[in-house]
Each structure stands twice: as C-alpha cells, then as structure tokens.
Symmetry: C2
Subunit: 268 residues, 2 copies
Amino acid sequence: MKVGFIQFDPVFGDIEGNIDTVKRLADSADADLFVLPELFNTGYLFTSHEEVAELSEEIPGGRTTEALSDLSRKKNAWIVAGLAERSGKNFYNSAVLVGPDGYRATYRKIHLFFEETVWFNPGDGEFQVYDIGGCTVGIMICFDWIFPESMRVLSLMGADVICHSANLVLPFCQDAMKTRCLENRVFAVTANRTGTEERGGKSLSYTGKSQITGTRGNVLFQAGEGIEEVGIVEIDVNEARNKEVNEYNNLFDDRRTDFYSALLKDNK
Amino acid sequence: MKVGFIQFDPVFGDIEGNIDTVKRLADSADADLFVLPELFNTGYLFTSHEEVAELSEEIPGGRTTEALSDLSRKKNAWIVAGLAERSGKNFYNSAVLVGPDGYRATYRKIHLFFEETVWFNPGDGEFQVYDIGGCTVGIMICFDWIFPESMRVLSLMGADVICHSANLVLPFCQDAMKTRCLENRVFAVTANRTGTEERGGKSLSYTGKSQITGTRGNVLFQAGEGIEEVGIVEIDVNEARNKEVNEYNNLFDDRRTDFYSALLKDNK
C-alpha cells in the first residue's frame, strides 16, 4: 500500500485556489492514501469569528468535501484533509476522510492549540479508526501529537496508519513521532504546511518537513522545510499488526492496565 | 538541586566489588540525588533460578540496601539503585530509594523485559512518587520506558524527576526520553550500565550513554558509550511544576480523559 502527504503553502481564504493546488500536486503522484495539512483549504491564522464562520463548511456537503470526494474518485485513493467545519452554530478544527465512494468520516480535533481555543469548539467525538480496505487508519490533528494518549488510543483501537494533518510551528513533533510510532508499532503520515502567514498584526511560520514514520520509529520520508512536496512511501501494513518485541514481550499485551488508573483521573 | 547518574560496568555476582565501585565513583562527585543502573550490584545476565535466589536480597535489610544507606548518609544524598529483591519465595527486579535517614521505598519493575520474565515476578505495587525534600521523584526501571503510561502516571502523580535505572541493550531509549520529558514536562535521569556479559552461552552488550534529560526534551548530559562516568547536572525543579505551554494550553489540564477510556481496557 502506498501512503503519502501533500505539503504546500495554503493561501489564507482562497479555498478554490488551495483545492486547485492540491489537485495539481495529486496529479503528479499515485498513492492509496493522501494526507493533507490541517486547515488546508482556508489557511490557519484566523483573526475573527466572522472569518471562521465565513470560511467554515459543512462536512459532508461543503464544497471542499465535495471537491475532495471528486479527487478521491479520480485518483482511486483515500484522502484525509484538515478543514474548518461548521455544524449549526458550532465550528470545529476538523479532518475529513473521503474515499472513492465519497464522504466517510469526520474527526474534530480534541486537543486545540493556542487561539484555536478562541475560534473553534473542542472536538466532541471519540477517537475512531476506519477500515479503508486492507488498512485501518486513525486520524489526529497537529497538537494532538503531544498527548501520548491520542496515538495510543488510536493504536489500541487497531489503527495501522495514523493520518496526522498538521500546521506545525515548533520543531519537536517530527522527532516525537519516532517515539510515538515505536511505542505503538504503527505508521504515521504527518502532513505539514509551509510558508508564513501575516494577518491582524500576527505572524506564524510553518516548518514543513512533513514526515512518514515507520513502525520502528524509523523515518521513511521527510520533506524539505519550505518547499511544495509530495512524499509517498510503499508500506506493509502487516508490520503494524504484530506488536511482539521478542518471544517474551508484546507492546500491547504487556501493558499493565491495573497500574494505569491515574491516566483517567481528571487532575484539573 | 544537583541530580546525577553513576555509569559503570558491574561484574556479575560480585556484589561487594560492585558496591565498592559505586562508593569510589560517588566519592568523586557531589549531588543531592544519584541514580544507579538496574541490577547494579549483581549484574544482569542470570542463567538459573538458583543464581537469582543466591544473589537476591531483602529490601530493606539486605547488605546492599544497608551499604547504600551508609553511602547516602555519608554523601548526604538520595540514591535510587536497581537490585534483585527477595521477598519470601518471590523475586523482583527492583529499585530501592534510600536517603540520609536510610531506607525509604522499593519499586518493583512493572514491565519485565525478555528473560526477566523467567527469573523475576512482575511488579505487584502501584507506581508511587516520593518527596525527598523540595523535589518529588518517581522511579522506573529500564523497559518501563517504552510504555508511555509509566512516565505519564508518575508525572501525573507529581514527579518532578524520573529516576530511571537501566541496563539498555537497544539504541532507542535515549531519544525516546526526550519525547517523554517533553510531553510530561519533567526531568529524567537514565542511569545505564556499560560492558558485555557472556554467561551460559549468551552475550549481552550494554550501551552506556546514560542521560539526564530536561523538561523541554533537551539533553542536559549524556555519558560516553563504553566508559565509567559520573554525570551531574544542576536543575531547577520548578521547571517541572509549571505545565503551561502558552497562555491557552497546559500539558495536563488539556488532557481530555473522557476520550481516553481505551487506555484502561485490557486488550489481551
């Protein structure tokens, strides 16, 4: 199975243009699964609730999900893409999963970062995994990575590949994904964006280096820092289904849940 | 506060000699907390239950705990050290915490590695943290590191410094400790051993590179690979007590435990 990311520099507010860029880049490569950055169609640096309302879309039904479904059908590939979701009066930093048969699922970011907490509602659904035909995927968005619980839960639920849409501004994630993949014996595709956004007196620079990480914490592919790039790697999902470390140890069976109760205590 | 490790090459079965080596190395340095390798007094590569029984000691009461308590008093320092524990008919891969006032606590390794599962009983006590006067420490042993739950639980319980006694044979742990410390905002002292053991037709080489890791995933000190070495770093434990990432985010308060229930499900 071939999995990949599309790394580029989304233009804030230019939904049609950003979708066109993705179509152009997807045309250059073939994969069974493409992961796009967080908020790939709108850009990231919102400055008002009005902007969020204007640029958010219903999932499914919105034009971006429709366009991605068309692309998915045309490429005969699954796509995970970050976009701003409107649901009634609520707005979410979401990721959509579409396949050749159209819309499949939505993940609403559970751990919001920085001013996202101002613009978006926190995700209100459980982590889920999805069988996309011979491969089970889990979805997380950007800052979810720093909480080991995110990938652990998805992996325990059976994810082979973690689809990780991101808009990273700090340098820590790519290295951490090596530990995350190693401890869970899963693959991860971290799709980051590039470029700098300057809006409303604020500025954010995104760090690129989108990364496909292997089940042994090995980097299978890492993109450049500031360039448009499509990275694709052939993987064997069976690697993620055997959690044995040696004849005595298994990463999941050896978990001693009786001693982990502190993990679910709310310590606020 | 000064924390450190003592890295050396224990001689299998030579408890007195290994204790003497630790005394000699501790003489060369001052710290408030020393961490010693896993099974520092006996060596690691057991070949029979008889050997385990012969070399294991009661904690407290055994000669190693007594010697460490003496050293602790002399140095006016806390010591965490790995040793084989006998308790009735049971044997554990344990770590002892001693201070200037003597024995304080025992941790029995919860996640046993490889043939340890043959020689030792799995730890039967909860993870605990201990106030050693201005600093709260948690203890884990070697392979515990690969389970993110170990350090997460200790950190949620209030540990500032993770005392990590190890006999590492694989190259992954030191990098992973950067992620562990970053995600939990804690310090860690990983005390590894060096040398090669050849016993009963088997051979194990230990990788050294004992490491003191900072709260931002930064390496504060890393020892050489095959040398005897004492590493000591001055740390400010307050760094570990503020879990804020920015004005909107906090590593612990932002945990969304409602969505983590899979962590405690037994998936065997």
